[in-house]
């Protein structure tokens, strides 16, 4: 059964990419709905299978590592596969209504969308260092293509900038992989970990890990390498921005986290962990401040991503050289942060797109008085904002709580300031948008109500992110599932 599910999971996005390439936008939309249905069902079934039976390794082509490529299907991976299915389904559905079928180039949205989805699954499941590189490139190129779609000069500038950053990041990662292969003679992450743990290879070479982490951090837009993100996420069409912020940046972070958790203990060091954590903390502060200063609505949301990504990098100091319990707590917190940010940020971008559509302007000031029309999108935007601020009962709060506990327990109290100040700063930019919408002394009477389906999607996502805090315990319990047996 799981064999079929795996095949379906790998096959569907790639096949649908081809199918939608051959038809136009309207037909592609129908085909995509079908594909989304299939993919969501398969992801759900796989998640359920792993939740009940535990994780396993999947050998592509029947060749075991190190000769072949293995996929690592564990609780964490299927959680992210499911998250991707949810968010991508929402964005795809939104795009099918939001994008104008009259523009001939929008037909290319669908194949790129499906390739992006395929690439994300490659990364979540990947257990082979080089295969992860290919997956990263798949994601980057599809994402750049989506940003550039439409070909306006500013979009192209953003796309080129994004592409350059992504290429440099991938190359740094690949160089690290080359060194690892040279040292260990294998590309399987599990093999490398095993060789390090049983002492076959003496640790001490930090440089390959640093290279890989640098490349991945660049692709994740960690401060101070975040410059490419806001233009790209701000200028893309809203469903695309939602995909990029919610999922794409998480892919490179996910790899970095897996590398760190497997190899960091042997190849990393206290200083490296603290350095990355400090950069993450600065990202939180600086990103929030810049988000507060933006005049365009989507730029606010985009800079907020820079800030929220900063939290993720607290994983590095909070898992290095601490007890397993603390490390687990930090990992759980970060996982919740990834999930809740993905849901909330997708909701926020989609809602922002609806609001822009409604008021016909992308400026924050233009929202003056819209609260009167009770737009659902404003409500969804606010709910998502609550999650970003880390207020209860959202997933963001649950994440923050776990991270606070981990910081306290590990004695690294300096992260408390980052966590608390970050929440307050994000409140500043969310409330700025809200405040604008409450201004009542304008004579805006024109307000375009977007189609209901466009309004429903961000609301669902926002509610999911809101409710995540309440069901955090079951989600986390699946994530922590061990492998069937302990070895391959």
């Amino acid at each position: 059964m799981t064999l079929w599910l795996m095949a379906g999971l790998l096959f569907t996005p790639l096949a649908w990419a081809v199918l939608t390439l051959l038809v136009d936008f309207r037909k592609g939309r129908v085909v995509t709905w079908l594909g989304i249905l299939v993919q969501v069902l398969v992801s759900l079934a796989l998640w359920a299978a792993v939740a009940s039976d535990g994780g396993f390794y999947y050998f592509l082509g029947g060749w075991q590592a190190p000769l072949g490529i293995e996929l690592r299907v564990d609780g964490l991976a299927v959680t992210f596969v499911l998250l991707t299915a949810l968010v991508a389904a929402a964005c795809g559905w939104h795009a099918s209504v939001y994008l104008d079928p009259g523009k001939s180039w929008h037909r290319y949205f669908w194949p790129l969308f499906w390739f992006l989805w395929a690439g994300l699954n490659v990364v979540w499941l990947g257990g082979d260092l080089f295969n992860l590189y290919v997956g990263l490139e798949l994601i980057s190129l599809a994402a750049v293509g989506l940003v550039a779609l439409g070909g306006q000069a500013a979009a192209l500038r953003a796309a080129i900038r994004y592409l350059m950053a992504a290429l440099l990041g991938s190359l740094a990662y690949l160089l690290g992989v080359a060194l690892i292969y040279g040292q260990f003679g294998t590309l399987s992450l599990a093999d490398v970990t095993a060789l390090l743990s049983d002492g076959t290879v003496a640790a001490g070479q930090t440089f390959p890990l640093v290279l890989m982490l640098f490349g991945l951090a660049l692709k994740t837009a960690l401060f101070p390498m975040h410059g490419w993100l806001p233009p790209a996420h701000g200028i893309a069409k809203s469903p695309v921005s939602a995909l990029l912020s919610a999922l794409v940046v998480k892919a490179s972070f996910y790899i970095a986290a897996r590398l760190w958790l497997d190899l960091g203990g042997h190849l990393g060091g206290y200083e490296l962990a603290q350095l990355i954590g400090v950069l993450g903390g600065l990202a939180v502060i600086w990103g929030s401040w810049l988000a507060f200063r933006q005049t365009k609505l989507k730029q606010v949301v985009a800079y907020s991503s820079v800030a929220q990504i900063g939290y993720l990098f607290l994983l590095f100091p909070l898992t290095w050289g601490v007890t397993d319990a603390i490390s687990l707590q930090a990992q759980q917190g970060i996982t919740l942060q990834v999930i809740s940010h993905a849901l909330a940020k997708a909701a926020m971008f989609l809602a922002a797109g609806n609001l822009i559509m409604s008021v016909g302007s992308n400026r924050v000031d233009a929202l003056a008085g819209v609260s009167r029309f009770l737009p659902f999108s404003l409500f969804s935007f606010g709910l998502a904002g609550v999650s970003l601020m880390g207020l209860p009962p959202t997933g963001g709060f649950a994440a923050k709580w776990l991270l606070l506990q981990a910081s306290l327990a590990s004695g690294q109290w300096w992260w408390l300031g980052v966590l608390l100040a970050g929440g307050l700063l994000s409140a500043a930019y969310v409330f700025r948008v809200y405040q604008a919408s409450f201004i009542d002394n304008t004579d805006t009477d024109h307000f375009f109500h977007p189609p209901k389906s466009l309004e429903v999607i961000p609301l669902i996502l926002a509610l999911l992110s809101l409710g995540l805090g309440l069901v955090a315990e079951p989600v986390l319990s699946v994530m922590a599932l061990p492998f069937e047996g302990s070895s391959r």
Binding site: Y58, F115, G151
Partner: protein, 232 residues
């Protein structure tokens, strides 16, 4: 200021190269604990091809190759999405150089043959789909420069079919075995060699199409879309 920044950059790059060199030197000092080439040689017979590189590309690590073709197709899609006219081909860009015209009458057939040879050679010596596809694309580039009309390069369904053909066939082979209850990308026993050959052939064609499409998809018109929220 400018000098300072150049000095800083130089220092950064030198430090990077130095560290990298040091790491390479250290790693080179001890042998790798896993003997992958040995393992490969043991399993080569089961792979269906004689040349180890092709075996790695199309059997042991065929997932990489599948995705790599996906990357190529993405680039092709993104490229043609930039072109907004019915034909990618722009007559104004053709030269009417008679020497070039004469030359390509000799060269194009020769290059086609070369591409065929590279494809065929891939099974037991260096060569293969990508090399053949690149040569094929190069002959297309030459034709375009030389002014031979290439109206098939309009962003219609045929071009898109051509872009996707190789990838599609590869994908279908990959899933066929999975439907039979095997893992994804496993070749049915005994069919590895013919299937690999089919994949290589269609891949050659598609790779050439992608590269050619990317070359000719010049931005020939200036239609553009306003940013969200700005009025057209």
């Amino acid at each position: 200021m400018r000098v300072l920044s150049v000095v800083t950059m130089t220092a950064v790059c030198l430090a990077f190269a130095g560290l990298l060199g040091l790491a390479v030197w250290h790693i080179a000092g001890s042998p790798a604990p896993v003997n992958l080439p040995g393992l490969l040689a043991e399993n080569l017979d089961a792979s269906g091809v004689e040349h180890p590189i092709t075996a790695v590309l199309l059997n042991f690590r065929s997932y990489d190759t599948l995705l790599e073709i996906g990357v190529l197709v993405i680039a092709g899609i993104a490229g043609i999405s930039m072109a907004k006219t019915t034909s990618l081909e722009d007559p104004d860009l053709r030269t009417s150089d008679s020497l070039l015209y004469a030359l390509q009458r000799w060269f194009v057939p020769l290059m086609l043959v070369l591409a065929g040879y590279l494809l065929w050679a891939g099974s037991d010596r260096p060569g293969g789909a990508f090399q053949a596809g690149a040569v094929l694309a190069a002959s297309g580039v030459m034709m375009r420069l030389g002014g031979i009309p290439m109206d098939f390069l309009r962003p219609g369904v045929l071009l898109r079919l051509g872009l996707a053909l190789g990838f599609t066939v590869f994908l279908l082979v990959a899933v066929a075995s999975a439907l039979a209850g095997e893992v994804f990308l496993a070749y049915p026993a005994g069919f590895a060699k013919p299937l690999i050959l089919v994949i290589e052939t269609v891949l050659t064609f598609s790779i050439a199409m992608v590269l050619l499409a990317l070359f000719v998809s010049a931005p020939v018109n200036r239609a553009q879309e306003p940013e969200e929220g700005e009025h057209e």
